[in-house]
Subunit: 359 residues, 2 copies
């Protein structure tokens, strides 16, 4: 876990991506065609646990996995206590473009905190955000971004942070879809989560984003309780409030950088065993999928490919899709998926419906 | 979490205690009298969820807590998702004297590994253990003990460690009771755990001992799955095996020192909310109980006092019991318990039966 010693958190790395993310051209790839919902052929609407999925290898992979691992007569039966499924969040279970929601939260927090910090009017890096100076923001150093992240995410009690996120979630809207972020979740993934849970699997979010950030809404959005959210985590410091009560203060120090190798390491730290199913969409999910597959027996590894510029976004650069620094799906990951039998989900072809509010 | 930066793990601290623990005089306190099992007056045997407990304030505190927090009509009703109970292990759910089981495991591991390390015959600190030189062991430095801990607990894959512990658990016997350690568990605490779970509580072990150590047997011994074991944790490093499979190597670096303030901090890290009930027996559990009580509403905080030299051990130094460096229950903790309304469990008076095999 060398990465844990690195000062820059994934949150900060996220912040560094803001400009790249904002200015990324969402050029549709040459081979992109309008989406046509396909009729479900292998299942009927009444019994289909995955109605937002088109029939095809991706949907079938989920159905086959559940059938195989929950059939006591199968040699690949998985005992109930070992039924663990892990999901990356950004780009896997909800929208991550043009930038991660948590980055927008941090910037909005600066604006919200500004009245209590009149000095920010003239003090960088805050001045750039407060005045909306995009040119200055483009010149943010790593140190600037670290200051923004730590200023907006620490210095309060553990309990005080959650309501800040909840408030923001209730009012902030996605720049493209003009909907609150809790509605930016992918309906097909909600169906997979429910289908897995209905078959005895425990579903976990395993995100490079902030654990405490995601915990504030995950039960409502995903039906996943706080203890099943594994994410990048800041240190806390035990202290006493004025009334003598034991409290935890959020500390400007990264404890867990839950990305890449950190995902495999933290899954072990939190769960103590390997998942049997893992879902991701970027290079940061590679080791989680490898670690899952190494559990032996039947396992399920899936990667979401954002190839639907009409209904969502299109980026890779795998398969000739536009390059991006936010949620990069490199060709090397695509090649590893092919070589290892992981399933790549084409949003364009495999998902009949992306959001619950689409009709 | 300043403690996390400290090089010495709680495991190492445990090791430093071995001599103190081994030489501790288990002098019974002046006020100690033989135990007499008392008849259950408030409950009948058929319905009593806590048959190994004598009637009294400790048993009543558990019964009242469960009744109050699971009664929907009560203003102190606790929603099912918030029903969390945390248990320290050593000295709270099983025997910790004369020394922690994990310390014996480490020393036995040295003996077991010795044939592959002929240099240990002449190389300290291993030489002292291999030759049983107690005088030399008495002079172990902190550095010696760190070497022993890291040598015996790291350098293997995460998966390889568990079977080592399981093998040891199956054959090692407690020096006083001559029983395997899984039989050193306190029957009254097993009943409390089951009673809480039967009423919708999720039970966690929150131990200063090694998380991976406890995870190997906790399901069998306590009915608690690996993901509900929070303990001191070593770092791991993601790597690739020769066959290309993703593996985790155990690294000689402490990631979480789950003791004292670390217990409150790690409960938040793993669960994301405060417990409603917490059980401990030492200074290292103080903050866990404080943090639990600060959850507001009805909560339950209990401390096991080892005052039964006849059936188990007697040590404090609270209440005039013999002092010890293994599982210290200081008078200051006893005073805090009295001031804050925490319940102190007298093993002598509150527990009708300590071990399941007692008849």
């Amino acid at each position: 876990m060398k990465s844990r010693a690195v000062v820059l958190s994934s949150l900060i790395l996220s912040l560094t991506l803001i400009l790249a993310g904002c200015t990324n051209n969402q050029t549709p790839p040459a081979n992109q065609t309008p989406t046509a919902a396909q009729p479900a052929a292998t299942t009927t609407a009444a019994t289909d646990p995955l109605p937002s999925w088109n029939d095809g290898p991706a949907k079938q992979a989920v159905l086959d996995f559940v059938k195989t691992t929950t059939d006591k007569a199968s040699p690949k039966f998985v005992a109930p206590e070992d039924r663990i499924a892990t999901f990356d969040q950004d780009g896997t279970t909800w929208v991550e473009h043009p930038i991660y929601s948590q980055v927008l939260f941090a910037f909005d927090r600066v604006a919200e905190m500004a009245p209590q910090h009149p000095e920010w009017k003239t003090k960088m890096p805050f001045k750039a955000i407060v005045t909306g100076d995009k040119e200055a923001m483009a010149k943010f150093t790593t140190k600037d971004l670290e200051i923004i992240a730590m200023t907006t995410h620490t210095g309060m009690t553990a309990e005080a942070f959650g309501p800040m996120v909840k408030d923001w979630m209730a009012k902030a809207k996605h720049p493209k879809f003009d909907k609150p972020y809790p509605q930016m979740v992918y309906q097909p993934m909600l169906e997979v989560m429910k289908y897995l849970r209905d078959n005895g699997y425990r579903t976990y979010i395993v995100t490079g984003g902030g654990q405490d950030f995601v915990r504030t809404y995950a039960l409502q959005v995903y039906g996943i309780p706080p203890e099943q959210i594994i994410g990048s985590a800041l240190d806390t410091q035990y202290a006493y409030a004025k009334d003598g009560q034991g409290i935890l203060m959020r500390d400007p120090k990264l404890l867990l950088n839950n990305n890449g190798v950190g995902k495999a390491e933290d899954i072990y730290l939190f769960i103590g065993k390997r998942p049997k199913a893992a879902f991701g969409n970027t290079d940061g999910d590679r080791q989680m999928l490898e670690y899952t597959q190494a559990s032996g027996g039947t396992s399920l590894e899936m990667l979401v490919l954002h190839d639907d510029t009409t209904r969502e976004f299109a980026y890779g650069p795998a398969q000739g899709l536009p390059d991006t620094k936010v949620g990069t799906f490199p060709q090397s990951l695509y090649d590893e998926a092919e070589a290892k039998g992981w399933t790549v989900i084409s949003m364009k072809n495999d998902w009949k419906q992306i959001f619950s509010w689409e009709k």
